[in-house]
Amino acid sequence: MIIAVPIEKSTRKSFLSQSFARASYFGVYDSENETFHVLDNPYAKGQSGVGVKAVELLRNHDVNHVIAYRIGTKAKQVIDAANITVSNPIDGSCIENIETFLEDKQ
C-alpha cells in the first residue's frame, strides 16, 4: 500500500498541511518496501483546479491511500474515480500518522 500525506516541510517529521491540494509537499510511504520519499507539489500555488491535479499526481505515483484534514469536492471526485481511500489525521507528524494508520489497519 502506498500512502500520501500533505505536509508543510519536506521531512518525515513535518506536521500535516491544513490544505490537501495546496500543501507544499506530499510525504509518500510505501508499506511493502518500507520506503519514504517526499514529492514536491507543483500545484501548491496554482490558481484553479489544483485539487484535481494533485490527485492526478498522486495517482501517477501509485498512491492508494491519503491521510488529510479536508479534501475539496472536485479533488474528492477524482479520488473516488481513482479508488484512493481517505482517512482523518491524528495530532502528530507525517510519519506518526502513517504508523498509526498502519497499526490501526492490522
Binding site: S48, G49, V52, E56, R59, N83
Partner: protein, 286 residues
C-alpha cells in the same frame, strides 16, 4: 436609415459591496430618462427591485465545455496537457472533465489529434430585458456556477445593439474578473466611496484598476458628513475629482431599503443627481 448616435457607457463601481452602487445607479437613471440601466452584478442583481416590471424578456446565456467521444480517445492526454485551467484529469485510462473549471478556451479540442472532443453548450445564467420604459437589463448567474463573466460579456453585446445612446452600468462589487468585464468600453466611471478607512482602502484598489484600464473617473462620496474623513483628505491630497456627495441620512437609507428611488420623492437628493448627470454629460460630451 437613421443616423447611428454615438454610444456612451458610464459605469458605477466601488471596491466593496454595500457602498451604494445600485443606489447611485438607479437614482442617476431616474434623472437621465434617455438612458438604459444595466445591472451587471450577476451574482446578486437587485436593481430591478426599484421598478414595476411587467414585460421583462429572458434569454439563456450558454458557454461551451468539451465533450468526449470515448470511441475516438486513445489516451494521448494532449487535452489534459493543453488545459491551462486544470479542468481535466486522466485517471486510470479515463478522462475526467470538470465543467466548473473550464474557461471555454477550446485549447483541448484543438489539441486532440483524434478529434475526440467537441463542444457541448451548458447554461450559466440568463439575461432579462424590458422592452418598454423603464429600459432595464440585468443578468443573473445560476447558483453553483463558478464565473459570471460570460453573462457580463453578453450584457456588453446587448448594450452595443440597444437603441439608447447612453448606458448606466451598475458594476459588480470588488475588482475581480466580472468587474473588469463590466468596465469594457466604459467612457466614464463613477467611483462610489464611503468616507471611512475601509472606504479609502477599497477606493484605492479601485483607482488602481481604473488607472490600469485607462478609464477616467470621478469620486462620489456616499454617506457623507461634514466631519474630516480619510476619503476627502486623500482626494484632496492626490487632486482627484469629487463629483458628488450624498449626505448621511437615515431617512434616505430607509426609503432606499423599501425600494423607493429617493430622487423621485426628495428634492434635495434629486438636485444632487441632476447636477451629477450634468457633470457626466459634460464628461461624455453628450
Amino acid at each position: 436609415m437613421s443616423e447611428q448616435k454615438p454610444k456612451r457607457k458610464v459605469s458605477v463601481l466601488s471596491g466593496k459591496g454595500g457602498t451604494g452602487k445600485t443606489f447611485v445607479s438607479v437614482n442617476l437613471f431616474a434623472v437621465m430618462t434617455d438612458a438604459l440601466y444595466v445591472d451587471t452584478d450577476i451574482e446578486e442583481p437587485n436593481g430591478f427591485f426599484y421598478f414595476d416590471i411587467e414585460d421583462a424578456e429572458s434569454e439563456d446565456v450558454t458557454i461551451f465545455v468539451p465533450k468526449l467521444n470515448e470511441k475516438k480517445c486513445d489516451g494521448t492526454q494532449a487535452c489534459v496537457n493543453a488545459c491551462k485551467f486544470n479542468a481535466m484529469a486522466f485517471i486510470d485510462d479515463e478522462l475526467m472533465i470538470f465543467d466548473d473549471l473550464c474557461h471555454s478556451c477550446g485549447a483541448c479540442i484543438y489539441a486532440c489529434p483524434n478529434d475526440a472532443l467537441s463542444k457541448k453548450y451548458i447554461s450559466v445564467g440568463e439575461i432579462k430585458e424590458t422592452r418598454n420604459n423603464p429600459r432595464i437589463m440585468w443578468g443573473e448567474m445560476k447558483p453553483g456556477k463558478e464565473s459570471g463573466v460570460p453573462i457580463v460579456e453578453r450584457l456588453n453585446e446587448k448594450i452595443k445593439t440597444s437603441g439608447e445612446s447612453l448606458a448606466i452600468v451598475d458594476s459588480p462589487p470588488g475588482i475581480g474578473c466580472a468587474v473588469i468585464e463590466a468596465m469594457r468600453d466604459t467612457d466614464y466611471a463613477i467611483l462610489v466611496a464611503e468616507p471611512s478607512l475601509f472606504g479609502l482602502h477599497n477606493m484605492k484598489m479601485t483607482i488602481k484598476l481604473l488607472d490600469y484600464l485607462d478609464v477616467s473617473y470621478g469620486i462620489l462620496i456616499n454617506k457623507y458628513t461634514d466631519e474630516d474623513n480619510p476619503v476627502s483628505d486623500y482626494a484632496k491630497q492626490e487632486k482627484l475629482p469629487v463629483i458628488a456627495k450624498i449626505p448621511y441620512d437615515r431617512t434616505i437609507a430607509k426609503m432606499n431599503a423599501q425600494g423607493i428611488i429617493v430622487a423621485d420623492v426628495d428634492k434635495k437628493i434629486r438636485q444632487i443627481f441632476v447636477d451629477l448627470s450634468e457633470t457626466i454629460r459634460e464628461e461624455l460630451t453628450l
